[in-house]
């Protein structure tokens, strides 16, 4: 009787051991698996878009460094300003949120360091792509000077206007260069715009974000874009400064600059969260 009890007791001890091991394993496994209870994103918050200008894979440093492009022209860039506008964000459901048009015009300027666009009150969601324009669309321009609101002043202060009749400079890209045929350091100016309403150089860009940008009351993402200034003259369309160092109102070259400029943007990364140190 006693021995049967002992055997039973030992069996139970064994069972307890198994139970204990199972429990430990369960905890282990359950703790290590991802808890994917996708919490619902609610509310609204800001989305910041940083336009980080580069030359190829190097940071753009105004006036202090030069680089040589594929056309064997060596450039020192002293100014890179451009207008970005008409922001739209598309979420993972394929729905597009269009930012209020009157508030959707910005100048980014390397020389002032003002290279961030902050879009306020974006509804909560999981955003997968961004669309924006480079320049000012005809619809906006045709609203006349009074229809431009504060943006007209912003553009004037940042050298992004020729005159009201001639219109906005969508891109103001300046510096100096040398080449095989131009051995003296020579200024270059590339000012691209729509030239009133006669030539429409406004272009739109859509970029996939790579990493989803999460917006909610607690989360305000930063989309970090890189704009490669080399693409302006040395992108898909090759424009030689030796041939023409000042490109302004050019029905032939401005549209090529517009195409190149619209292709200079890439998404480097997306920061999600609320605590941003940068």
């Amino acid at each position: 009787m006693a021995s049967a009890f002992i055997i039973k007791y030992q069996k139970m001890k064994f069972i307890y051991k198994i139970l204990a091991i199972t429990l430990v394993l369960t905890v282990f496994v359950s703790c290590s698996s991802d808890d994917d209870t996708a919490t619902e994103l609610t509310g609204e918050n800001s989305v910041t878009i940083e336009f980080d200008n580069s030359v190829g894979s190097d940071d753009l440093l105004l006036a202090t460094s030069s680089y040589t492009n594929s056309q064997n022209e060596t450039l020192t860039i002293t100014r890179l300003n451009y207008i970005v506008s008409n922001f739209r964000l598309t979420n993972d459901q394929g729905e597009t949120f269009t930012y209020e048009k009157d508030d959707s015009y910005f100048v980014t300027s390397e020389e002032t360091g003002n290279t961030e666009v902050v879009l306020e009150n974006i509804p909560a969601g999981t955003y997968v792509s961004i669309t924006f324009g480079v320049g000012v669309d005809q619809e906006k321009y045709l609203q006349g000077a009074e229809g431009q609101g504060d943006f007209l002043t912003v553009a004037e202060e940042t050298n992004m206007m020729w005159s009201w009749q001639a219109g906005y400079k969508f891109l103001n890209f300046e510096g100096t260069f040398t080449s095989e045929t131009v051995t003296e350091t020579t200024d270059f100016k590339v000012h691209m715009g729509s030239h009133g309403s006669s030539l429409d150089n406004y272009k739109e860009v859509t970029l996939s974000l790579g990493t989803d940008a999460l917006v909610s009351d607690e989360m305000s993402p930063i989309v970090h874009l890189v704009a490669d200034a080399n693409a302006i003259l040395d992108g898909a369309h090759k424009l030689s400064l030796s041939e023409q160092s000042v490109i302004m109102v050019s029905e032939e070259k401005s549209p090529l600059v517009a195409l190149n400029t619209a292709s200079m943007f890439t998404v480097d990364h997306v920061h999600n969260g609320s605590e941003h140190s940068h």
Partner: protein
């Protein structure tokens, strides 16, 4: 960023700790730090030392990294110094189970291109690991002339006792500049050692499974692999020297944030390791250095330069 902290792990190694009369029996094992940068993840947790020795000790680990402050090829490099002092020990429980415990204290600093300095100081992530001796040990007092093998398997847990600062994962700098991962992490480990006369060889493999912390950041899981060889020379009956040489590797999976992959956070690094341990009666004084042979951390945005460790253990 990373790489994350894991890298450092290597440093954690320690030399064999030696009992006064059974030196050659110890294989050392180290258990590494988790995540690159370790700083990030609680520092190197070395649990190593002689497989059959019980000890308490203090260890200093210094690691130097440099990481890119920015996303461009001409972005400045910043130097990062990770310093850790840890109390650690190994204690037997019953005949076949050994408990390793480790509590680090970190004081890390880095200087940015504009000369501002950032310092983080505090307790890191405590780790407890239990090993089971799969092979029965011959008593220490019997000096065997045949090779002796030791094989242990272990499980452990790393507690989020070190603080995790979400601000340090923003920007493009090493995300492992942290006192801890902020998460409960789990460790699976296996150690093998063989000793023969004065020679020894040890190998270890461990895998750290990390979980998401309260800031929704998840450091990538990490593998550590190492092989060490050593030989013990007796200077006198109570004093011995054990030089050692080894190779180690660490592999880091990608980090995730809000369950989204963080680009450029995976990595691998291979180290050569040199060490010397001096034993005097119950005391073991060791120094070791790890030099990277090859590395690819955070797409080249983080580089480990070296790790050194200095420790004093007392066998109990």
């Amino acid at each position: 960023m990373l790489l994350l902290g894991g890298l450092l792990s290597a440093k954690a190694n320690d030399l064999p700790e030696v009992g006064s009369y059974c030196i050659w029996k110890n294989t050392e094992f180290e258990y590494f730090c988790d995540t690159c940068g370790c700083g990030g993840n609680g520092g190197s947790m070395g649990f190593g030392t002689g497989l059959n020795n019980n000890f308490v000790g203090l260890r200093y680990i210094g690691q130097k990294y440099r990481s890119r402050d920015g996303i461009f090829d001409n972005s400045p490099w910043i130097n990062e110094n990770f310093n850790t002092v840890q109390a650690w020990g190994k204690f037997p429980v019953g005949k076949r189970v050994l408990i390793n415990a480790l509590l680090p204290y970190h004081f890390h600093n880095r200087t940015f291109a504009d000369n501002t300095e950032q310092t983080i100081t505090g307790v890191g992530d405590a780790t407890v690991l239990a090993y089971y001796n799969v092979l029965r040990q011959t008593p220490d007092s019997i000096i065997s002339i045949k090779p002796e093998h030791v094989f242990q398997i272990g499980v452990g847990v790393k507690l989020p006792t070190g603080s995790f600062d979400a601000a340090n994962i923003e920007g493009s700098v090493n995300p492992s500049f942290q006192l801890g991962t902020g998460s409960w992490d789990y460790i699976l480990a296996a150690n093998y050692g063989v000793t023969h006369r004065n020679w020894g060889l040890s190998a270890l493999l461990n895998y750290t499974i990390k979980t998401e912390n309260s800031k929704n950041y998840l450091f990538g899981n990490q593998w550590n692999v190492a092989v060490n060889t050593y030989k013990t020379f007796y200077v006198s009956p109570s004093v011995s020297l054990t030089p050692q040489f080894g190779l180690g590797a660490e592999f880091f999976e990608e980090n995730r944030e809000f369950n989204l992959t963080v680009p450029d956070t995976r990595g691998d690094v291979y180290f050569a390791r040199f060490g010397l341990e001096t034993n005097y009666n119950r005391y073991a004084l060791g120094i070791s250095s790890m030099i990277p042979i090859s590395q690819n951390l955070n797409e080249g945005k983080v580089e480990v330069k070296n790790r050194v460790s200095l420790y004093l253990n007392i066998n109990i």
